[in-house]
């Protein structure tokens, strides 16, 4: 699975795309977020960090599949 990175998340992880091995097919987006925060503890220091799955803000319950487009969403600051 590829995870797209933007803004400060890209700086923390040091790349604009992260190759991520989905541990088991039935895991949820909130479980993935916990795994990412564990591997990259700097993410937890942000004011907020969330995921988008297939272009929608993730609520946490989404069951992830291999082909999903996942993105890390640090605090947004458009406008």
């Amino acid at each position: 699975m590829k995870i797209l990175l933007f803004g400060i998340a890209k700086d923390i992880i040091g790349s604009s795309v992260l190759d991520w091995k989905l541990e088991d097919e039935g895991s949820t987006s909130s479980e993935l977020l916990v795994s990412l925060k564990t591997k990259y503890p700097e993410l937890s220091k942000l004011r907020s960090i969330a995921l988008a799955v297939n272009g929608e803000h993730a609520l946490g319950e989404e069951i992830l599949k291999k082909g999903d487009e996942v993105a890390l969403i640090p605090p947004m600051s458009g406008g």
Partner: protein, 137 residues
């Protein structure tokens, strides 16, 4: 008109024209520009990065909500990506409605919600450094 584009390609007149409607008597337009300072610190430029397909999708949701909730006929939102210098346009939102009050309310809803839900990230450059801005949530 829902677009992300380089600052130099943002045409405010074209955005206003895109929402004109013969049955609407009101157009409200919000233009967000780059301020020369932030809490007294001199800004040299901004840089906007977007998760483009999702940003377009979230902007479209905002436009549709404005149409439904404020009886807007047409809604256009154009946001800059890349560098923006002081005084340049970062975002333009235009809303046409039959009556004026709804045009203000719809336009204000759109910019408030944009800042909350649209995956765009702003990096501020000062004379002595730069940082990503953490606005929302």
């Amino acid at each position: 008109m829902i677009e992300l584009k380089e600052q130099k390609d943002i045409n405010i007149s074209a955005i206003i024209d895109s929402v004109k409607s013969d049955y609407c008597g009101a157009v409200d337009v919000f233009i967000g520009t780059v301020r020369d300072n932030l809490v007294g610190k001199k800004v040299t430029k901004l840089f906007f990065e977007a998760y483009t397909p999702m940003a377009i999708s979230e902007l479209s949701k905002i436009a549709n909500t404005v149409k439904e909730r404020y009886q807007a006929d047409k809604v256009s939102i154009v946001h800059a990506v890349g560098d923006c210098l002081v005084g340049e346009t970062a975002v333009v939102i235009a809303v046409s409605t039959p009556h004026r009050k709804a045009s203000f309310e719809g336009c204000q809803y759109a910019i408030d919600t944009l800042k909350d839900t649209v995956p765009i990230w702003k990096r501020e450059y000062f004379e002595d450094g730069s940082h990503w801005v953490f606005s929302h949530p």
